[in-house]
Protein backbone atom coordinates (compact mmCIF):
# COMPACT_ATOMS: atom_id res chain seq x y z
CA UNK A 1 0.00 0.00 0.00
CA UNK A 2 3.01 2.31 0.36
CA UNK A 3 2.83 2.87 -3.35
CA UNK A 4 -0.48 4.72 -3.04
CA UNK A 5 0.94 7.16 -0.54
CA UNK A 6 3.29 8.22 -3.33
CA UNK A 7 0.64 8.23 -6.05
CA UNK A 8 -2.06 10.25 -4.31
CA UNK A 9 -0.37 13.69 -4.26
CA UNK A 10 -0.18 13.42 -8.08
CA UNK A 11 -3.48 11.66 -8.78
CA UNK A 12 -5.66 13.94 -6.66
CA UNK A 13 -4.84 17.19 -8.49
CA UNK A 14 -5.27 15.39 -11.83
CA UNK A 15 -8.74 14.19 -10.86
CA UNK A 16 -9.53 17.65 -9.53
CA UNK A 17 -8.42 19.08 -12.87
CA UNK A 18 -10.79 16.80 -14.79
CA UNK A 19 -13.72 17.57 -12.50
CA UNK A 20 -12.98 21.30 -12.43
CA UNK A 21 -12.89 21.38 -16.21
CA UNK A 22 -16.23 19.60 -16.57
CA UNK A 23 -17.85 22.09 -14.17
CA UNK A 24 -15.88 25.09 -15.36
CA UNK A 25 -18.94 27.19 -16.26
CA UNK A 26 -20.36 26.67 -12.80
CA UNK A 27 -19.42 28.06 -9.36
CA UNK A 28 -19.01 24.41 -8.37
CA UNK A 29 -15.79 24.31 -10.41
CA UNK A 30 -14.18 26.76 -7.99
CA UNK A 31 -15.18 24.63 -5.03
CA UNK A 32 -13.89 21.48 -6.73
CA UNK A 33 -10.53 23.17 -7.22
CA UNK A 34 -10.46 24.32 -3.61
CA UNK A 35 -11.52 20.88 -2.35
CA UNK A 36 -8.93 19.26 -4.59
CA UNK A 37 -6.22 21.47 -3.11
CA UNK A 38 -7.28 20.54 0.42
CA UNK A 39 -7.23 16.83 -0.46
CA UNK A 40 -3.83 17.23 -2.14
CA UNK A 41 -2.49 18.80 1.02
CA UNK A 42 -3.85 15.93 3.08
CA UNK A 43 -2.33 13.40 0.69
CA UNK A 44 1.05 15.11 0.82
CA UNK A 45 0.99 15.24 4.61
CA UNK A 46 0.26 11.50 4.58
CA UNK A 47 3.32 11.11 2.35
CA UNK A 48 5.40 13.20 4.76
CA UNK A 49 4.28 11.07 7.69
CA UNK A 50 5.22 7.91 5.81
CA UNK A 51 8.64 9.29 4.92
CA UNK A 52 9.31 10.42 8.50
CA UNK A 53 8.22 6.97 9.61
CA UNK A 54 10.08 4.73 7.19
CA UNK A 55 12.81 6.85 5.64
CA UNK A 56 13.09 6.78 1.86
CA UNK A 57 10.07 5.12 0.26
CA UNK A 58 9.75 4.00 -3.35
CA UNK A 59 7.04 2.38 -5.47
CA UNK A 60 7.15 0.73 -8.88
CA UNK A 61 4.30 1.85 -11.14
CA UNK A 62 2.43 -0.87 -13.03
CA UNK A 63 4.28 -3.36 -10.82
CA UNK A 64 7.24 -3.35 -13.23
CA UNK A 65 10.40 -3.72 -11.20
CA UNK A 66 13.07 -1.02 -11.30
CA UNK A 67 15.00 -0.17 -13.40
CA UNK A 68 12.47 -1.10 -16.10
CA UNK A 69 9.29 0.47 -14.82
CA UNK A 70 8.71 4.01 -13.69
CA UNK A 71 9.64 4.48 -10.07
CA UNK A 72 8.13 7.02 -7.75
CA UNK A 73 10.40 7.74 -4.83
CA UNK A 74 10.32 10.14 -1.91
CA UNK A 75 13.20 11.00 0.37
CA UNK A 76 13.15 13.90 2.83
CA UNK A 77 13.78 16.50 0.14
CA UNK A 78 11.04 15.20 -2.17
CA UNK A 79 8.57 14.88 0.68
CA UNK A 80 9.06 18.42 1.94
CA UNK A 81 8.86 19.80 -1.59
CA UNK A 82 5.56 17.98 -2.15
CA UNK A 83 4.12 19.34 1.08
CA UNK A 84 5.21 22.88 0.33
CA UNK A 85 3.77 22.57 -3.19
CA UNK A 86 0.44 21.51 -1.75
CA UNK A 87 0.51 24.40 0.74
CA UNK A 88 1.25 26.91 -2.02
CA UNK A 89 -1.44 25.28 -4.15
CA UNK A 90 -4.04 25.65 -1.42
CA UNK A 91 -3.04 29.25 -0.74
CA UNK A 92 -3.32 30.05 -4.45
CA UNK A 93 -6.67 28.29 -4.78
CA UNK A 94 -8.05 30.48 -2.00
CA UNK A 95 -6.46 33.62 -3.42
CA UNK A 96 -7.80 32.84 -6.90
CA UNK A 97 -11.37 32.88 -5.58
CA UNK A 98 -10.90 36.57 -4.94
CA UNK A 99 -8.89 37.51 -7.97
CA UNK A 100 -9.77 35.41 -11.01
CA UNK A 101 -12.78 36.75 -12.95
CA UNK A 102 -15.57 34.40 -13.96
CA UNK A 103 -14.80 34.68 -17.66
CA UNK A 104 -11.30 33.29 -17.05
CA UNK A 105 -12.69 30.52 -14.90
CA UNK A 106 -14.96 29.52 -17.75
CA UNK A 107 -11.90 29.06 -19.97
CA UNK A 108 -10.71 26.35 -17.62
CA UNK A 109 -8.45 28.24 -15.23
CA UNK A 110 -8.90 25.81 -12.34
CA UNK A 111 -8.25 22.75 -14.48
CA UNK A 112 -4.99 24.24 -15.76
CA UNK A 113 -3.96 25.27 -12.28
CA UNK A 114 -4.56 21.79 -10.87
CA UNK A 115 -2.67 20.27 -13.78
CA UNK A 116 0.25 22.55 -12.99
CA UNK A 117 0.26 21.38 -9.37
CA UNK A 118 0.13 17.76 -10.53
CA UNK A 119 3.07 18.40 -12.86
CA UNK A 120 5.18 20.04 -10.16
CA UNK A 121 4.41 17.27 -7.67
CA UNK A 122 5.19 14.62 -10.28
CA UNK A 123 8.58 16.19 -10.97
CA UNK A 124 9.41 16.09 -7.25
CA UNK A 125 8.40 12.46 -6.86
CA UNK A 126 9.65 10.70 -9.94
CA UNK A 127 12.75 8.55 -9.81
CA UNK A 128 12.99 8.19 -13.57
CA UNK A 129 14.80 10.65 -15.78
CA UNK A 130 12.51 10.44 -18.77
CA UNK A 131 9.49 10.66 -16.55
CA UNK A 132 11.00 13.84 -15.13
CA UNK A 133 11.05 15.20 -18.67
CA UNK A 134 7.37 14.31 -19.05
CA UNK A 135 6.49 16.21 -15.86
CA UNK A 136 8.47 19.19 -17.12
CA UNK A 137 6.33 19.10 -20.25
CA UNK A 138 3.11 18.87 -18.25
CA UNK A 139 4.27 21.90 -16.28
CA UNK A 140 5.32 23.80 -19.37
CA UNK A 141 2.01 23.31 -21.19
CA UNK A 142 -0.06 24.15 -18.14
CA UNK A 143 2.06 27.17 -17.25
CA UNK A 144 2.05 28.53 -20.79
CA UNK A 145 -1.72 28.34 -20.90
CA UNK A 146 -1.98 30.00 -17.50
CA UNK A 147 0.39 32.73 -18.61
CA UNK A 148 -1.68 33.75 -21.62
CA UNK A 149 -5.14 33.02 -20.19
CA UNK A 150 -7.26 36.12 -20.04
CA UNK A 151 -5.71 37.47 -23.23
CA UNK A 152 -4.01 40.75 -24.05
CA UNK A 153 -0.97 41.69 -26.08
CA UNK A 154 1.38 41.87 -23.10
CA UNK A 155 0.54 38.41 -21.90
CA UNK A 156 0.96 36.86 -25.31
CA UNK A 157 4.32 38.60 -25.69
CA UNK A 158 5.45 37.28 -22.32
CA UNK A 159 4.08 33.85 -23.11
CA UNK A 160 5.99 33.55 -26.38
CA UNK A 161 9.29 34.46 -24.70
CA UNK A 162 8.57 32.08 -21.89
CA UNK A 163 7.64 29.12 -24.04
CA UNK A 164 10.39 29.63 -26.62
CA UNK A 165 13.20 29.69 -24.06
CA UNK A 166 11.75 26.85 -22.06
CA UNK A 167 11.44 24.74 -25.20
CA UNK A 168 15.14 25.30 -25.91
CA UNK A 169 15.99 24.22 -22.39
CA UNK A 170 13.76 21.17 -22.70
CA UNK A 171 15.48 20.22 -25.95
CA UNK A 172 18.92 20.40 -24.33
CA UNK A 173 17.58 18.40 -21.40
CA UNK A 174 16.14 15.80 -23.76
CA UNK A 175 19.40 15.47 -25.73
CA UNK A 176 21.19 15.00 -22.43
CA UNK A 177 18.78 12.21 -21.49
CA UNK A 178 19.42 10.53 -24.85
CA UNK A 179 23.20 10.66 -24.42
CA UNK A 180 23.04 9.48 -20.84
CA UNK A 181 20.78 6.61 -21.86
CA UNK A 182 23.29 5.72 -24.56
CA UNK A 183 26.09 5.53 -21.98
CA UNK A 184 24.32 3.81 -19.12
CA UNK A 185 21.45 1.96 -20.80
CA UNK A 186 19.01 3.01 -18.10
CA UNK A 187 16.69 5.86 -17.26
CA UNK A 188 16.21 5.05 -13.61
CA UNK A 189 18.09 7.64 -11.57
CA UNK A 190 19.29 5.26 -8.89
CA UNK A 191 20.46 2.76 -11.49
CA UNK A 192 22.03 5.56 -13.48
CA UNK A 193 24.20 6.57 -10.55
CA UNK A 194 26.04 3.28 -10.83
CA UNK A 195 26.08 3.33 -14.62
CA UNK A 196 27.63 6.81 -14.72
CA UNK A 197 30.22 5.89 -12.08
CA UNK A 198 31.26 2.87 -14.16
CA UNK A 199 31.24 4.68 -17.51
CA UNK A 200 34.49 4.42 -19.46
CA UNK A 201 34.40 7.89 -20.97
CA UNK A 202 34.22 10.16 -17.93
CA UNK A 203 34.93 13.20 -20.10
CA UNK A 204 31.70 12.63 -21.98
CA UNK A 205 29.83 12.28 -18.70
CA UNK A 206 31.07 15.72 -17.67
CA UNK A 207 29.93 17.16 -21.00
CA UNK A 208 26.47 15.67 -20.43
CA UNK A 209 26.51 17.05 -16.90
CA UNK A 210 27.04 20.51 -18.37
CA UNK A 211 24.09 19.96 -20.73
CA UNK A 212 21.93 19.19 -17.73
CA UNK A 213 23.28 22.23 -15.95
CA UNK A 214 22.25 24.43 -18.87
CA UNK A 215 18.89 22.70 -19.33
CA UNK A 216 17.90 22.92 -15.68
CA UNK A 217 19.66 26.27 -15.40
CA UNK A 218 17.16 27.84 -17.78
CA UNK A 219 14.30 26.38 -15.74
CA UNK A 220 15.84 27.57 -12.50
CA UNK A 221 16.66 30.99 -14.03
CA UNK A 222 20.36 31.15 -13.15
CA UNK A 223 22.87 33.56 -14.65
CA UNK A 224 23.11 34.04 -17.66
CA UNK A 225 19.96 32.12 -18.62
CA UNK A 226 17.40 33.96 -16.52
CA UNK A 227 16.16 36.64 -18.93
CA UNK A 228 12.88 34.91 -19.69
CA UNK A 229 11.77 35.27 -16.08
CA UNK A 230 11.56 39.04 -15.64
CA UNK A 231 10.11 39.20 -19.17
CA UNK A 232 7.11 37.10 -18.28
CA UNK A 233 6.34 37.03 -14.56
CA UNK A 234 4.84 40.50 -14.29
CA UNK A 235 1.99 39.99 -16.79
CA UNK A 236 -0.36 37.18 -15.65
CA UNK A 237 -2.91 37.25 -12.84
CA UNK A 238 -1.28 37.66 -9.43
CA UNK A 239 -2.41 34.25 -8.26
CA UNK A 240 -0.64 32.72 -11.25
CA UNK A 241 2.55 34.71 -10.93
CA UNK A 242 2.66 33.83 -7.24
CA UNK A 243 2.46 30.12 -7.93
CA UNK A 244 5.03 30.48 -10.73
CA UNK A 245 7.36 32.50 -8.52
CA UNK A 246 6.98 30.04 -5.69
CA UNK A 247 7.22 26.77 -7.50
CA UNK A 248 8.38 26.71 -11.12
CA UNK A 249 11.99 27.86 -10.82
CA UNK A 250 12.30 25.74 -7.71
CA UNK A 251 11.58 22.63 -9.75
CA UNK A 252 14.70 23.51 -11.76
CA UNK A 253 16.68 23.93 -8.55
CA UNK A 254 15.34 20.64 -7.24
CA UNK A 255 16.30 18.87 -10.48
CA UNK A 256 19.81 20.36 -10.24
CA UNK A 257 20.08 19.22 -6.63
CA UNK A 258 18.90 15.74 -7.50
CA UNK A 259 21.10 15.22 -10.56
CA UNK A 260 24.24 16.79 -9.09
CA UNK A 261 24.08 14.82 -5.87
CA UNK A 262 22.81 11.52 -7.17
CA UNK A 263 24.22 11.10 -10.68
CA UNK A 264 26.90 13.65 -11.56
CA UNK A 265 29.28 13.36 -8.64
CA UNK A 266 32.26 12.01 -10.58
CA UNK A 267 34.00 15.35 -11.13
CA UNK A 268 32.74 17.56 -8.33
CA UNK A 269 35.83 19.78 -8.48
CA UNK A 270 34.91 20.85 -12.01
CA UNK A 271 31.10 20.88 -12.18
CA UNK A 272 30.44 22.30 -8.75
CA UNK A 273 33.17 24.93 -9.13
CA UNK A 274 31.33 26.24 -12.19
CA UNK A 275 28.14 26.15 -10.20
CA UNK A 276 29.69 28.31 -7.47
CA UNK A 277 30.52 31.09 -9.93
CA UNK A 278 27.16 30.75 -11.65
CA UNK A 279 25.45 31.05 -8.27
CA UNK A 280 27.41 34.11 -7.23
CA UNK A 281 26.74 35.87 -10.53
CA UNK A 282 23.07 34.89 -10.31
CA UNK A 283 22.76 36.35 -6.83
CA UNK A 284 24.50 39.54 -7.77
CA UNK A 285 22.93 40.28 -11.18
CA UNK A 286 19.50 39.45 -9.80
CA UNK A 287 19.71 41.90 -6.98
CA UNK A 288 21.27 44.62 -9.15
CA UNK A 289 18.53 44.10 -11.75
CA UNK A 290 15.93 44.54 -9.03
CA UNK A 291 17.44 47.85 -7.97
CA UNK A 292 16.79 49.29 -11.43
CA UNK A 293 13.07 48.41 -11.49
CA UNK A 294 10.12 50.41 -10.25
CA UNK A 295 7.35 47.90 -10.87
CA UNK A 296 6.28 45.92 -7.83
CA UNK A 297 6.28 42.57 -9.59
CA UNK A 298 9.40 43.23 -11.66
CA UNK A 299 11.39 43.94 -8.51
CA UNK A 300 10.11 40.72 -7.01
CA UNK A 301 10.88 38.81 -10.23
CA UNK A 302 14.52 39.90 -10.17
CA UNK A 303 14.69 38.91 -6.54
CA UNK A 304 13.61 35.39 -7.42
CA UNK A 305 16.71 35.16 -9.58
CA UNK A 306 18.93 36.54 -6.86
CA UNK A 307 17.52 34.07 -4.34
CA UNK A 308 17.91 31.14 -6.71
CA UNK A 309 21.64 31.85 -6.48
CA UNK A 310 21.64 31.10 -2.75
CA UNK A 311 19.98 27.75 -3.31
CA UNK A 312 22.32 26.63 -6.07
CA UNK A 313 25.19 27.93 -3.93
CA UNK A 314 24.11 25.50 -1.24
CA UNK A 315 24.41 22.73 -3.80
CA UNK A 316 27.65 24.07 -5.28
CA UNK A 317 29.57 24.26 -2.00
CA UNK A 318 28.68 20.58 -1.57
CA UNK A 319 29.23 20.25 2.15
CA UNK A 320 26.58 18.85 4.53
CA UNK A 321 25.99 22.26 6.06
CA UNK A 322 25.72 23.99 2.68
CA UNK A 323 23.22 21.49 1.30
CA UNK A 324 21.27 21.75 4.52
CA UNK A 325 21.16 25.50 3.99
CA UNK A 326 20.09 24.96 0.38
CA UNK A 327 17.18 22.74 1.38
CA UNK A 328 16.14 25.12 4.14
CA UNK A 329 16.38 28.02 1.69
CA UNK A 330 14.17 26.25 -0.86
CA UNK A 331 11.36 25.76 1.63
CA UNK A 332 11.61 29.22 3.16
CA UNK A 333 11.82 30.90 -0.23
CA UNK A 334 8.71 29.27 -1.72
CA UNK A 335 6.55 30.48 1.16
CA UNK A 336 7.99 33.98 1.23
CA UNK A 337 8.10 34.58 -2.50
CA UNK A 338 4.57 33.40 -3.22
CA UNK A 339 3.40 35.56 -0.36
CA UNK A 340 5.10 38.70 -1.69
CA UNK A 341 3.36 38.26 -5.02
CA UNK A 342 0.06 37.82 -3.18
CA UNK A 343 0.71 41.09 -1.36
CA UNK A 344 1.48 42.79 -4.67
CA UNK A 345 -1.90 41.64 -5.98
CA UNK A 346 -3.81 43.01 -3.03
CA UNK A 347 -1.82 46.26 -3.15
CA UNK A 348 -2.97 46.62 -6.74
CA UNK A 349 -6.58 46.03 -5.72
CA UNK A 350 -6.30 48.82 -3.15
CA UNK A 351 -4.08 51.33 -4.87
CA UNK A 352 -4.91 50.64 -8.50
CA UNK A 353 -1.49 49.87 -9.98
CA UNK A 354 1.73 47.92 -9.57
CA UNK A 355 4.03 50.69 -10.76
CA UNK A 356 5.52 52.03 -7.55
CA UNK A 357 5.60 55.58 -8.94
CA UNK A 358 1.86 55.55 -9.37
CA UNK A 359 0.79 54.17 -6.00
CA UNK A 360 1.40 55.02 -2.39
CA UNK A 361 -0.22 55.69 0.96
CA UNK A 362 -0.95 52.06 1.69
CA UNK A 363 0.53 52.21 5.18
CA UNK A 364 -2.03 54.74 6.32
CA UNK A 365 -5.07 53.17 4.70
CA UNK A 366 -4.25 49.46 4.95
CA UNK A 367 -1.99 48.94 7.98
CA UNK A 368 -2.80 45.24 8.13
CA UNK A 369 -1.50 44.71 4.60
CA UNK A 370 1.58 46.75 5.45
CA UNK A 371 2.28 44.56 8.45
CA UNK A 372 1.78 41.45 6.36
CA UNK A 373 4.16 42.81 3.71
CA UNK A 374 6.88 43.52 6.26
CA UNK A 375 7.05 39.88 7.38
CA UNK A 376 7.88 38.20 4.05
CA UNK A 377 9.88 41.20 2.81
CA UNK A 378 12.22 41.25 5.77
CA UNK A 379 12.36 37.49 5.80
CA UNK A 380 13.52 37.64 2.18
CA UNK A 381 16.20 40.14 3.11
CA UNK A 382 17.32 37.91 5.97
CA UNK A 383 16.30 39.83 9.08
CA UNK A 384 16.45 37.87 12.31
CA UNK A 385 14.43 36.20 13.62
CA UNK A 386 12.47 35.50 10.42
CA UNK A 387 12.96 32.36 8.35
CA UNK A 388 15.22 34.03 5.79
CA UNK A 389 17.78 34.84 8.46
CA UNK A 390 18.33 31.18 9.30
CA UNK A 391 18.50 30.23 5.64
CA UNK A 392 21.15 32.85 4.88
CA UNK A 393 22.96 32.13 8.14
CA UNK A 394 23.37 28.46 7.21
CA UNK A 395 24.70 29.27 3.73
CA UNK A 396 27.14 31.92 4.96
CA UNK A 397 28.32 29.69 7.78
CA UNK A 398 28.87 26.85 5.32
CA UNK A 399 30.94 29.15 3.13
CA UNK A 400 33.05 30.34 6.08
CA UNK A 401 33.55 26.78 7.22
CA UNK A 402 35.48 25.94 4.07
CA UNK A 403 37.23 29.33 4.06
CA UNK A 404 35.36 30.57 0.99
CA UNK A 405 35.60 34.19 2.14
CA UNK A 406 34.60 35.70 -1.16
CA UNK A 407 31.47 33.56 -1.36
CA UNK A 408 30.46 34.60 2.15
CA UNK A 409 31.15 38.24 1.31
CA UNK A 410 28.97 38.17 -1.81
CA UNK A 411 26.16 36.42 0.09
CA UNK A 412 26.16 39.13 2.73
CA UNK A 413 26.43 41.92 0.19
CA UNK A 414 23.47 40.56 -1.78
CA UNK A 415 21.51 40.36 1.46
CA UNK A 416 22.24 44.03 2.06
CA UNK A 417 21.14 44.99 -1.44
CA UNK A 418 17.96 42.97 -0.95
CA UNK A 419 17.12 45.16 2.01
CA UNK A 420 17.54 48.16 -0.27
CA UNK A 421 14.92 46.85 -2.72
CA UNK A 422 12.51 45.90 0.01
CA UNK A 423 12.77 49.30 1.66
CA UNK A 424 12.25 50.85 -1.76
CA UNK A 425 8.93 49.02 -2.12
CA UNK A 426 8.10 49.92 1.45
CA UNK A 427 8.90 53.57 0.97
CA UNK A 428 7.21 54.01 -2.38
CA UNK A 429 4.13 51.84 -2.01
CA UNK A 430 3.42 52.15 1.68
CA UNK A 431 4.88 55.35 3.13
CA UNK A 432 4.76 57.88 0.35
CA UNK A 433 1.34 59.56 -0.16
CA UNK A 434 -0.58 58.42 -3.22
CA UNK A 435 0.49 60.58 -6.21
CA UNK A 436 -3.11 61.05 -7.35
CA UNK A 437 -4.00 62.33 -3.90
CA UNK A 438 -6.55 59.56 -3.34
CA UNK A 439 -6.70 57.37 -0.31
CA UNK A 440 -6.18 53.75 -1.40
CA UNK A 441 -8.77 52.42 1.03
CA UNK A 442 -9.57 48.74 1.28
CA UNK A 443 -13.17 49.66 0.37
CA UNK A 444 -12.04 49.87 -3.23
CA UNK A 445 -12.16 46.08 -3.34
CA UNK A 446 -15.32 44.13 -2.45
CA UNK A 447 -15.09 42.61 1.06
CA UNK A 448 -15.27 38.99 -0.12
CA UNK A 449 -12.39 39.66 -2.52
CA UNK A 450 -10.30 41.15 0.27
CA UNK A 451 -11.13 38.23 2.53
CA UNK A 452 -10.17 35.61 -0.06
CA UNK A 453 -6.93 37.40 -0.85
CA UNK A 454 -5.94 38.27 2.71
CA UNK A 455 -6.41 34.76 4.13
CA UNK A 456 -3.51 33.09 2.26
CA UNK A 457 -1.27 36.12 2.84
CA UNK A 458 -1.86 35.90 6.59
CA UNK A 459 -1.45 32.12 6.57
CA UNK A 460 1.87 32.17 4.76
CA UNK A 461 3.13 35.06 6.90
CA UNK A 462 2.28 33.02 9.98
CA UNK A 463 4.30 30.12 8.57
CA UNK A 464 7.26 32.42 7.98
CA UNK A 465 7.10 33.53 11.60
CA UNK A 466 6.76 29.97 12.88
CA UNK A 467 9.82 28.84 10.92
CA UNK A 468 11.66 31.92 12.14
CA UNK A 469 10.94 31.46 15.84
CA UNK A 470 11.07 27.68 15.97
CA UNK A 471 13.72 26.81 13.38
CA UNK A 472 14.97 23.78 15.31
CA UNK A 473 12.76 21.01 13.83
CA UNK A 474 13.07 22.50 10.32
CA UNK A 475 16.85 22.72 10.56
CA UNK A 476 17.02 19.16 11.81
CA UNK A 477 14.81 18.06 8.96
CA UNK A 478 17.00 19.88 6.45
CA UNK A 479 20.04 18.25 8.01
CA UNK A 480 18.63 14.77 7.44
CA UNK A 481 17.63 15.74 3.91
CA UNK A 482 21.18 16.93 3.22
CA UNK A 483 22.64 13.75 4.66
CA UNK A 484 20.41 11.71 2.38
CA UNK A 485 21.47 13.79 -0.60
CA UNK A 486 25.18 13.44 0.10
CA UNK A 487 24.94 9.72 0.76
CA UNK A 488 22.18 8.37 -1.48
CA UNK A 489 22.64 4.73 -0.42
CA UNK A 490 19.21 4.68 1.19
CA UNK A 491 17.69 6.22 -1.95
CA UNK A 492 19.34 3.69 -4.25
CA UNK A 493 18.43 0.77 -1.99
CA UNK A 494 14.81 1.89 -1.74
CA UNK A 495 14.51 2.13 -5.53
CA UNK A 496 16.41 -0.98 -6.54
CA UNK A 497 15.24 -3.06 -3.60
CA UNK A 498 18.70 -3.47 -2.16
CA UNK A 499 19.79 -5.82 -4.95
CA UNK A 500 23.25 -5.18 -6.39
Amino acid sequence: MTSWVLVMPIAVPFLAAVAAFLWRANPAGRMISLGGSVLTLMASIALMVAVLDEGVIAAQMSNWDAPFGITLVADYLSAVMVVITAITGLATAIYAMGEIPEATERLGFHALFQTLIAGVTGAFLTGDLFNLYVWFEVMLIASFSLLVIGGGKERLDAGIKYVALNLVSTLIFLSGIGLLYGITGTLNLADMREGVANAENQGLVTVIAMMFMVGFGVKAAVFPLFFWLPASYHTPYFAISAVFAGLLTKVGVYALMRMFTLVFVGDVGFTHEILIWVSLLTMFTGVIGAAAQTDFRKILSFHIISQIGYMTLGLALFTPLALMGGVFYLVHHIIVKANLFFVAGLAKQYAGHTDLDRIGGLYKSAPLLAALFIIPAFSLAGFPPLSGFWAKYLIVKAALEIDAWFVAFVSLLVGLLTIYSMTKIWGLAFWKPHPDGIDPTPDRAPPQVTRAMLTPIAGLAAMTIIIGFFPEPFVQFAETAATQLLDPTAYVDAVLGGTP
Partner: protein, 140 residues
Amino acid sequence: MNSVIFTAAARLLVALMFVFSLFMLLRGHHLPGGGFIGGLIGAVSFIVYSLACGPAEARKALRISPEVIAMLGLGIALLAGMFSFIVGYPLFTGQWLWVGGDSYETAAFSLNTVLVFDIGVYLVVLGGILSLTYAFEEET
Protein backbone atom coordinates in the same frame (compact mmCIF):
# COMPACT_ATOMS: atom_id res chain seq x y z
CA MET B 1 -14.37 23.21 -49.87
CA ASN B 2 -17.13 23.10 -52.49
CA SER B 3 -16.49 19.87 -54.33
CA VAL B 4 -19.37 17.49 -54.90
CA ILE B 5 -17.03 14.57 -55.44
CA PHE B 6 -15.18 15.22 -52.19
CA THR B 7 -18.36 15.72 -50.18
CA ALA B 8 -19.88 12.53 -51.54
CA ALA B 9 -16.69 10.53 -51.03
CA ALA B 10 -16.22 11.99 -47.55
CA ARG B 11 -19.46 10.44 -46.31
CA LEU B 12 -18.16 7.01 -47.18
CA LEU B 13 -14.59 7.62 -46.02
CA VAL B 14 -15.51 9.13 -42.69
CA ALA B 15 -17.61 6.19 -41.60
CA LEU B 16 -15.01 3.73 -42.81
CA MET B 17 -12.14 5.49 -41.06
CA PHE B 18 -14.05 5.85 -37.84
CA VAL B 19 -14.92 2.16 -37.73
CA PHE B 20 -11.30 1.38 -38.54
CA SER B 21 -10.17 3.59 -35.64
CA LEU B 22 -12.37 1.59 -33.27
CA PHE B 23 -10.94 -1.61 -34.72
CA MET B 24 -7.41 -0.35 -34.04
CA LEU B 25 -8.40 0.57 -30.50
CA LEU B 26 -9.81 -2.87 -29.69
CA ARG B 27 -6.97 -4.68 -31.42
CA GLY B 28 -4.36 -2.98 -29.25
CA HIS B 29 -2.22 -4.35 -26.41
CA HIS B 30 -1.79 -7.86 -27.81
CA LEU B 31 -1.41 -6.82 -31.44
CA PRO B 32 -0.19 -3.59 -33.02
CA GLY B 33 -2.76 -0.87 -32.43
CA GLY B 34 -4.13 0.77 -29.32
CA GLY B 35 -5.67 3.96 -28.03
CA PHE B 36 -3.17 6.45 -29.37
CA ILE B 37 -3.14 5.31 -32.98
CA GLY B 38 -6.89 4.66 -32.86
CA GLY B 39 -7.50 8.16 -31.55
CA LEU B 40 -5.38 9.64 -34.33
CA ILE B 41 -7.30 7.77 -37.03
CA GLY B 42 -10.59 8.72 -35.40
CA ALA B 43 -9.51 12.36 -35.35
CA VAL B 44 -8.56 12.21 -39.02
CA SER B 45 -12.03 10.93 -39.89
CA PHE B 46 -13.63 13.94 -38.19
CA ILE B 47 -11.12 16.28 -39.81
CA VAL B 48 -12.08 14.94 -43.24
CA TYR B 49 -15.71 15.49 -42.33
CA SER B 50 -15.03 19.06 -41.26
CA LEU B 51 -13.15 19.73 -44.50
CA ALA B 52 -16.10 18.42 -46.49
CA CYS B 53 -18.96 20.01 -44.56
CA GLY B 54 -17.34 22.78 -42.48
CA PRO B 55 -16.25 22.84 -38.83
CA ALA B 56 -19.67 23.91 -37.55
CA GLU B 57 -21.29 20.83 -39.06
CA ALA B 58 -18.47 18.63 -37.75
CA ARG B 59 -18.90 20.00 -34.21
CA LYS B 60 -22.58 19.15 -34.45
CA ALA B 61 -21.74 15.61 -35.54
CA LEU B 62 -19.40 15.22 -32.59
CA ARG B 63 -22.19 16.33 -30.19
CA ILE B 64 -19.81 16.90 -27.27
CA SER B 65 -17.13 19.58 -27.48
CA PRO B 66 -13.67 18.11 -28.18
CA GLU B 67 -12.16 19.68 -25.04
CA VAL B 68 -14.67 17.87 -22.86
CA ILE B 69 -13.95 14.61 -24.71
CA ALA B 70 -10.24 15.01 -24.01
CA MET B 71 -10.74 15.75 -20.32
CA LEU B 72 -13.19 12.87 -19.93
CA GLY B 73 -10.61 10.63 -21.55
CA LEU B 74 -7.98 11.80 -19.06
CA GLY B 75 -10.32 10.99 -16.21
CA ILE B 76 -11.18 7.55 -17.61
CA ALA B 77 -7.50 6.69 -18.16
CA LEU B 78 -6.58 7.77 -14.64
CA LEU B 79 -9.47 5.91 -13.02
CA ALA B 80 -8.60 2.78 -15.02
CA GLY B 81 -5.07 3.04 -13.63
CA MET B 82 -6.37 3.57 -10.11
CA PHE B 83 -8.60 0.49 -10.30
CA SER B 84 -5.65 -1.62 -9.12
CA PHE B 85 -5.97 0.15 -5.75
CA ILE B 86 -8.93 -2.11 -4.93
CA VAL B 87 -6.85 -5.24 -5.35
CA GLY B 88 -3.80 -3.78 -3.66
CA TYR B 89 -1.40 -3.37 -6.58
CA PRO B 90 0.53 -0.22 -7.56
CA LEU B 91 -0.97 2.37 -9.89
CA PHE B 92 -1.54 1.28 -13.51
CA THR B 93 -1.05 -2.43 -12.83
CA GLY B 94 -3.30 -4.11 -15.41
CA GLN B 95 -6.16 -6.18 -14.02
CA TRP B 96 -7.47 -9.01 -16.21
CA LEU B 97 -10.65 -11.04 -16.18
CA TRP B 98 -10.29 -13.93 -18.63
CA VAL B 99 -13.49 -15.38 -20.04
CA GLY B 100 -13.42 -19.04 -21.09
CA GLY B 101 -9.84 -19.76 -20.02
CA ASP B 102 -7.03 -18.38 -17.91
CA SER B 103 -4.52 -16.76 -20.27
CA TYR B 104 -4.24 -14.99 -23.59
CA GLU B 105 -3.82 -18.28 -25.51
CA THR B 106 -6.79 -20.15 -24.07
CA ALA B 107 -9.36 -17.51 -23.27
CA ALA B 108 -12.07 -16.49 -25.72
CA PHE B 109 -11.76 -12.86 -24.69
CA SER B 110 -10.93 -10.81 -21.63
CA LEU B 111 -12.24 -7.86 -19.71
CA ASN B 112 -9.39 -5.72 -18.46
CA THR B 113 -8.42 -2.31 -17.16
CA VAL B 114 -5.83 -1.96 -19.91
CA LEU B 115 -8.59 -1.61 -22.49
CA VAL B 116 -10.36 0.97 -20.34
CA PHE B 117 -7.09 2.88 -20.09
CA ASP B 118 -6.71 2.67 -23.86
CA ILE B 119 -10.24 4.00 -24.34
CA GLY B 120 -9.23 6.92 -22.16
CA VAL B 121 -6.14 7.53 -24.29
CA TYR B 122 -8.28 7.25 -27.44
CA LEU B 123 -10.59 9.98 -26.16
CA VAL B 124 -7.71 12.22 -25.07
CA VAL B 125 -6.06 12.00 -28.49
CA LEU B 126 -9.33 12.38 -30.40
CA GLY B 127 -10.43 15.34 -28.30
CA GLY B 128 -7.02 16.98 -28.17
CA ILE B 129 -6.35 16.83 -31.91
CA LEU B 130 -9.87 17.93 -32.81
CA SER B 131 -9.88 20.91 -30.46
CA LEU B 132 -6.63 22.07 -32.08
CA THR B 133 -7.70 21.59 -35.70
CA TYR B 134 -11.19 23.03 -35.20
CA ALA B 135 -9.69 26.11 -33.58
CA PHE B 136 -7.43 26.60 -36.62
CA GLU B 137 -10.19 25.94 -39.14
CA GLU B 138 -12.61 28.31 -37.49
CA GLU B 139 -10.05 31.09 -37.41
CA THR B 140 -9.52 31.21 -41.18
